[in-house]
Amino acid sequence: MNSKDKILVIGAGIAGMEASLLLANAGRSVLLVEKLSLTGGNTIKNEDSFPNLECSTCMIAPIQQDILQNPNIEVMTLSTVKKVEGEAGNFNVTIDKKARYVSLVDCIGCGMCYEPCPVTLKNEWEENLSEKKAIYVPCEGSLPNVPAIDPEHCLQLNGKKSCNACVEACMFGAIDLSEKDEEVQVDVGAVIVATGFDMFDAGKISNLGYGKFPGVYTSMEFERLFASNGPTSGELVLRGGGESPRSIAIIHCVGRKELGYCSGVCCMDSFKYSHFLKNKLPDAKVYNIYSDICLPNKTYQIFYNKIKGEGGGFIFQSSPEDIEIKESSGKLGVNLTDRNGAAESLDVDMVILACAIVPGKESENLAESLGIELDGKGFFLTRKEDVGTVETSKAGIFVVGCAEGPKDIQNSVIQAEAAVGKAILIGEINGK
């Protein structure tokens, strides 16, 4: 295959995977680069996705399997793009490929190496709600189902102590602690940027008490808490205490004012949580504290109406950043201003902060490497001359999904498909 027919996709979340698979099935060769040790992006963290509450694993796992088994796709995990030179049809890409220390070919995913590992760490992928070993898969069902070793904490690799426990436990000779980070050079014809998003740091709004009171959760923490393959196997128990919450306040729009945009998905996520809670804890009181209800899809209001029917309390609050959360005798007090401007206080056991979507941390560096622009908010910018496009200011480089701005899965996939079309049809129309 000619190198310029090869397409680089950065990010193995829903948008990147969809783009890769479509291209591969059209016979194109794809290099899919993912910074983490697993595919699936943020979508795979959700137990169910709105509005149909379809199980995310059921939805995504077949795609992840396809990606890993498709002969036209090379998946490079623990890798980031460092440099891109050249132009459309002829890019030279330099990739930083971190050592995994476990062979993707030889490892069969039996998990025998975890127990002997003497190092226990917080599991960041699980929002620090559980622990992992220095050799780990982020969660049950990770794909590829092959662990990676954290070189900063592995005793042998960080040089603190001589340790060979995992190597000895592995019956397949799949672990190689002498593996080195690599710099890989690849020639590709086009680049699709699908690096996704991060979540707004709720700690920035100090009056919401995140990080201060254990009962205050971010939306991503709640997703994992609820996930049946998550830290509590889906049991809704509060941090530390081990008890289920009896009253929960979900605060919408956390970070919206600071960031200057609405993320367009948090209302639906919040309603989903509301539904989860009502389903699992039927006697629990659930409050949705909102300012604007944003339902940008033909089916979202149907979901909203259903949630309202389930009896969650809906409280209007014009500015969520003014909410003050306090703790007294084990309860969280949510102090807000009600519709008439009078102060109101809710006593709850749990607060879920529906945090805004923010640009991925690595966006700035990546934009520089790619030679494309970011907008004022830090998301990738599409070609200014166009009304609706996935093209960037540089020909042959496309941006899709939340890397371009906050959006739901549907719109991420639409952009992925659009980028695939651009990559393929440009050649076709020019009569290649």
Binding site: L22, A26, C294, P296, Q301, D386, T389, E417, V420, K422
Partner: protein
């Protein structure tokens, strides 16, 4: 090779999976016991173990074994087929053994890893292997078919979505047929002058694109035309058009895919009691304002005078329709911004329920407009009598105000004829009467009929940017499936209907989500179109006369598994 494969010879290969299977299942017992079982007395059976079949050496070993032993059937007892089915299918393909004569048994996830008692785990593994071996003998070779395709595309609707689709796809090797019911291209965008600030510099986007379409030699335009019939499947749809004006049959041709881009209309505000207005009053719908800006370059009253105060009402018909139209807040802000530029002293009262600003640039625009002095009032209820507005601010008492002009943002609904088109295609509409996606998240611009796509406002309320992206997305999907000069390979594990048993009740036809079943009136039987069927087997499950075979999941095959499972 002189020996012809006349009788069956089955290979059963058990993977040790390192210690994972070997430690928890007594593989030697299986190897010793299997050949003595009654069902293998008249058959040739080879049972072997290997340390790791999915490794490169393992695959080579298996390949050689298949070749040397000339197996007619193969069973691999190892991990979950979700991990390595493809691996062993590829081994089969390399050795010319039809992959449908092979079966994988999951003795790791379903035996070794979940049953601590080794004896019990071994018993269960034997049960599984026996079931698979019996089944595999009932399996039949399935051969992939290659179908020729026509890379051409029919686009229905000459608005921005249809035009963008046509321009994205038309090329040297791909013809596009663009059908428009009215006498000109451009659709609703012909009524627009101003776009949103984030779409700046593109006021003439539609004119430019219409020019491009007209110039493009690969695009054939049919005006005042509609679709009469479309029969077929991805790669091969027979199309007949109809001339609307004289009601005469139009062109006939073949395409590989169809894109519906039939757009929207505004909901009839006359039907909503609280917004009743007459043409004589100073109450306007959003499209009337767009048109006014385009025609007059300004927003004026019937007298020609500029209004001094304007009330804008969002969400008109939202509750009644049951969905948010998602673009109204934005264009209302656009009108306010226009009015603010038109007159410094303009008094704006904007009555909204929720500000829906789902694009990253939207809130900035909102704040800009708000800071220029527009009064945004969040309401729980609103009613108009002409330009007299009665409203209830959220949590407060009812108020009223008189303005010079009222602008309504009526909900978008699918254009007239959407339902008929859905019926013609045999695709479902969503609860909200727009077309329904095959999968809302994973396949958002295709319908349940493969090869029929939906883009723009017929898909759901959408602005210009969203519509164009959807058009490009549909083009993207089409470009990966209909590659000029290449054939397509449909799924082979599909259903087939045995004519002799079918009584023509059409139960299967009603339940098929993909429209893969048609009725043959002459023979009075149902027929499966194998190019469309996806092989779920629902029809086989529904057939009251057992006339449907779900290939690779036939009753006979499953029966063998049942017998062994409960032996």
């Amino acid at each position: 090779m002189e020996s012809k494969k006349t009788s069956s010879k089955i290979g059963v290969y058990i993977c040790e999976c390192g210690p994972n299977i070997a430690d928890n299942i007594d593989i030697d017992t299986i190897i010793a016991r299997l050949p003595s079982l009654e069902e293998y007395q008249n058959k040739e059976l080879v049972v072997k173990r290997y340390k790791l079949l999915c490794s490169n050496e393992g695959k080579e070993f298996l390949e050689n074994e298949i070749r040397e032993n000339e197996f007619t059937h193969l069973v691999v007892a190892a991990c979950s087929p979700r991990d390595h089915d493809t691996t062993f299918i590829n081994v089969c393909k390399k050795t010319q053994l039809n992959p449908y004569l092979y079966k994988m048994v999951n003795i790791r996830e379903q035996c070794a890893w979940i049953i601590p008692d080794k004896e019990k785990a071994t018993e269960k593994a034997i049960r599984y292997i026996r079931a698979a071996t019996s089944r595999v003998l009932k399996q039949s070779e399935l051969i992939e078919k290659q179908l020729d395709i026509d890379p051409g595309v029919l686009v229905i609707g000459g608005g921005i979505s249809g035009i963008e689709t046509a321009l994205s796809l038309a090329g040297k090797e791909r013809k596009v047929y663009l059908v428009e019911k009215s006498s000109e291209l451009g659709g609703k965008m012909n009524m627009f002058k101003e776009l949103l600030p984030r779409q700046n510099g593109n006021r003439d986007i539609i004119e430019k694109k219409i020019e491009e379409v007209k110039k493009n030699e690969s695009i054939t335009i049919f005006l005042e035309t509609e679709l009469e019939s479309a029969v077929g499947f991805l790669g091969n749809f027979e199309i007949s058009l109809k001339n609307i004006k004289n009601n005469q049959p139009g062109a006939e041709f073949t395409v590989g895919a169809i894109v519906a881009a039939t757009g929207f209309r505004l909901t009839d505000t006359g039907k909503l009691a609280q917004y009743k207005y007459s043409k004589e009053s100073e109450v306007y719908t959003s499209l009337e304002i767009e048109n006014m800006i385009k025609r007059d370059g300004k927003i004026v009253l019937k007298s020609g005078k500029e209004p001094e105060s304007v009330g804008l009402i969002h969400c008109v018909g939202r509750e009644e329709k049951g969905y948010c139209s998602q673009i109204c807040c934005n264009y209302m802000l656009k009108f306010i911004s226009f009015l603010q530029q038109q007159s410094d002293s303009i008094k704006i009262k904007d009555f909204y329920r929720d500000m829906c600003l789902p694009h990253k640039e939207d809130q900035g625009f909102f704040e800009e407009v708000k800071n220029k002095g527009a009064d945004f009032i969040r309401i729980s209820d609103v009613k108009i009598k002409g330009t007299h507005v009665e409203y209830t601010p959220i949590g407060k008492d009812k108020k009223e105000v008189d303005v010079d002009m009222v602008i309504l943002a009526p909900a978008m609904e699918p254009e007239k004829g959407t339902e008929e088109l859905a019926e013609l295609f045999n695709v479902p509409l969503s609860e909200t009467n727009f077309f329904q996606e095959e999968h809302q998240q994973l396949n958002p611009v295709e319908t349940s009929i493969e090869g029929i796509f939906i883009v723009g406002a017929c898909h759901g309320p959408a602005g210009i940017s969203e519509s164009m992206l959807q058009a490009q997305a549909a083009s993207g999907k089409i470009s990966t499936r209909l590659i000029p000069g290449k054939k397509i390979v449909p799924e082979v594990k599909v259903s087939e209907i045995m004519e002799d048993f079918c009584m023509g009740c059409r139960t299967c036809m009603d339940i098929c989500s993909y429209g893969a079943i048609t009725f043959d009136g002459e023979l009075s039987v149902c027929v499966v179109n194998e190019a469309i069927c996806r092989g779920c087997g629902n029809c086989a499950g529904s057939c009251p006369s057992g006339a449907i075979r779900a290939k690779h999941f036939t009753s006979a095959q499953i029966y063998q598994e049942i017998i062994e499972a409960i032996r």
